[in-house]
Amino acid sequence: MNALPDAEFRAELRAFLNEAYPDHLRYLDRRPTIAEIRPWLEALAAKGWLAPHWPREHGGMGLSIGKYLIYYDELGRHGTGRLPDHALHLLGPLLIRYGTPAQKARFLPAIVEGREIWCQGYSEPGAGSDLSSLRTEAIVDDDHFVVNGQKIWTSMAPHADWIFLLVRTNRSVAQQAGISFLLADMKTPGITVRPIMNLKGESEFAEVFFDNVRVPLDNLVGEIDKGWTMAKSLLGDERITLGSPRQSAYAIERLELLARKTGAFADAAFVDRLTQLRLDLQALGASFRRYVGMVERGVRLGPDVSMLKVWATELFQRITAEMVELGGEMGSFRHAVRFEDTVIDVMNQYLEATPPTIYGGSNEIQRNILAKAVLGLPG
């Protein structure tokens, strides 16, 4: 598939999207429920197209970075809803690299076949940006770990079959040294999920409580106490996707549409602001393509790539803030703004743009890292 010319690859994707993606879920102004998105998940899985970046031997498409980005670009253009993708992006690549043969055989097929949904249990009430201060504890008891503690902000937890989590297995060593990586079945006795409603009114994330939860020793990935560096090492080339210009490109089109509908193009001050946003998007696109070019040439990306995430997420916020202001009273509508022939999802875009500066390493944390790792400023 990597050998296909880009245009043909796009055409194939489009044909499949037209055929398999449910029309009523295109450009939804909310995240589709699991029940809604499942047919699409299964259609992708049946075609072998669920894991574009996984190696073919593990059921992935084995796409090059260029094709991988086209893949997401086409899904975005078609307005597909977000899949439960934590296992695709994080767990799968981690198991491929560090899992035992038995773990790979047990878990990978169920992920690429869309049979099991995973959630990611890293954050805790007391451990957000300072993740390595986490306190959920796992103590070895015979052939099991016994896990006690609490995770929070766990996306998809209410619908997940499994959770991968970071736990403390050693309290006598430095913070980062005593952390291990476990896999737990969400049906295990002692696990309780309490959904948390987000600003969009969706129960997308949740608290997950662990009360004497018994997890087989076989579900430890990598070595005991060595989970931290392993989990961190995963932030590879895929980080680039956090800086994709796609969301901002879509949002600015909506902003332009809103401007046409409200006559804002007659306002020179608005046009100047809009132009600046366009220029900001152009610069994001140029920077994004520059990094993609590096990956294609086989350059290993350094910490500097996270500038894309910072700029992309802040630009997305600026565009959507402009939408809300331009809409005036309509900009305050909770649901989409309707004109005779058009519907513009102002508030959905605005709220969508709110958390990306917080998760995936908050933008403040990204700037801390850039200052030290790239600019070499003193600690």
Binding site: F265, A268, V271, D272, L274, T275, Q276, R278, L279, Q282, A283, L284, A286, S287, R289, R290, D304, M307, V310, W311, E364, R367, N368, L370, A371, K372, V374, L375, G376, L377, P378, G379
Partner: protein, 387 residues
């Protein structure tokens, strides 16, 4: 196509990197900051001996054909040299002279090219482009300056402003409205009827007003016919904006690097000031802007090699607008982060801000390019007289 318009040539990374290295070595031997200090507020404002050595290295003829002594390279290589010389604050007029060389090489007067280009490549002749008649414009195709037929002789009358490096120029490429449309005319410095008035710019360089009072022009001095000019000028202005972007990137880089080093050295409250998070984040934001200038520059260079004129113009304006804003911001913040020493003339950091101000305006300020970008994006109606 001549080599000058053949900027479609993809940037050869090896050639570019070799060139970059040799400019850096040159600058280490001839530090530009020292010349900028020594020669500011004087004319011609640069060191002719240094210019000759730059010519020997081949930099005065980068886009010119090898037959006239040029290197036969493209816009990418011009930008490498422009960026490095600007980073060193060299006072020689590399950017403006190269833009004028591109104009001459792009004309359709073979005889005149044969006469001028070898002298440009060898460094004997510096030319400057005289196109601007008012501030804040990118319209070169509709000059008020006229080339008229007066009793069988062609005479040039009009006024051009903001001409850089005019005192050191041996001649000017002048845009003028002739009977059949806009043409490019070659006017030698010292021609009868040509007068010059210099205005001091903040970086110590001079911007000149040229007055043409019935300056006689021979047929042989029409550099580019109406047809050639209408093709050449829009492209030339885009390429010039891209060269200006490269210069701004160089200035940003150098000021940024000095500031970064200072944050590691200067101690207050018992710690290096670079350990204060608010300063770290500010520096990261400046760095991100610098990286985006770089990315926009690369795309603009590539777009100048493509046939699509709108994409070329969009990319050039996006690059120049970003570079100009980033350079001004970077310059001001560099001083802020230095504290009072940054405001002292004895410290070099202020020289970068001043050069950034001049180069931000050269070939279109950020607002001018933003407006053009808006028009090209269809946000506002096209103004009469625009491409």
């Amino acid at each position: 196509m001549t080599a000058a318009s053949a900027t479609a040539m993809p940037a050869d990374d090896d050639i570019g990197e070799m060139l970059r290295k040799s400019v850096q070595d040159f600058c280490a031997r001839h530090p530009g900051v020292a010349r900028t200090r020594r020669l500011r507020d004087t004319e011609p404002g640069f060191d002719p001996g240094v210019w000759r050595q730059m010519a020997e290295a081949g930099w005065t003829g980068i886009p010119l054909p090898e037959a006239v002594g040029g290197l036969g390279l493209g816009l990418a290589e011009i930008c490498v040299v422009a960026e490095e010389l600007a980073a060193d604050l060299a006072s020689e007029p590399f950017g403006p002279a190269t833009v004028a060389a591109l104009a001459i090489a792009g004309g359709d007067n073979a005889g005149l090219k044969q006469r001028l280009l070898p002298a440009i490549a060898s460094g004997e002749l510096i030319a400057s482009l005289a196109w601007q008649e008012s501030a804040n414009t990118l319209d070169a195709l509709h000059p008020a300056t006229r080339l008229k037929n007066a009793g069988g002789r062609l005479v040039l009358t009009g006024e051009k402003h903001f001409v850089p490096g005019a005192a050191g120029a041996g001649g000017f490429v002048v845009t003028a409205a002739a009977a059949d449309g806009t043409v490019l005319v070659w006017v030698e410095a010292g021609s009868g009827g040509l007068s010059r008035e210099a205005t001091l710019a903040v970086d110590g360089s001079m911007l000149s007003t040229l007055r043409f009072d019935r300056v006689e022009v021979a047929d042989a001095d029409i550099l580019a016919s109406q047809t050639a000019t209408s093709l050449l000028l829009p492209r030339l202005l885009d390429e010039a904006a891209v060269i200006a972007t490269a210069e701004l990137l160089g200035i940003i880089r150098a000021a940024f690097e000095r500031t970064r080093e200072y944050l590691g050295q200067r101690t207050q409250f018992g710690r290096p000031i670079g350990s204060f998070q608010v300063l770290q984040h500010r520096l990261v934001d400046l760095w991100m802007q610098r990286e985006m200038v770089r990315a926009c520059l690369e795309e603009a260079i590539a777009a100048c090699g493509q046939a699509d004129e709108t994409q070329r113009a969009l990319a050039a304006s996006a690059a120049k607008a970003r570079a100009a804003t980033a350079a001004l911001h970077n310059g001001r913040q560099s001083i802020q982060l230095h504290g009072a020493i940054g405001y002292a003339d004895e410290h070099d950091i202020g020289l970068y801000l001043k050069r950034a101000i001049v180069k931000s305006a050269w070939m279109g300020s950020a607002p001018v390019h933003r407006k053009r970008f808006a028009r090209l994006s269809g946000y506002v109606p096209q103004e009469a007289g625009e491409e």
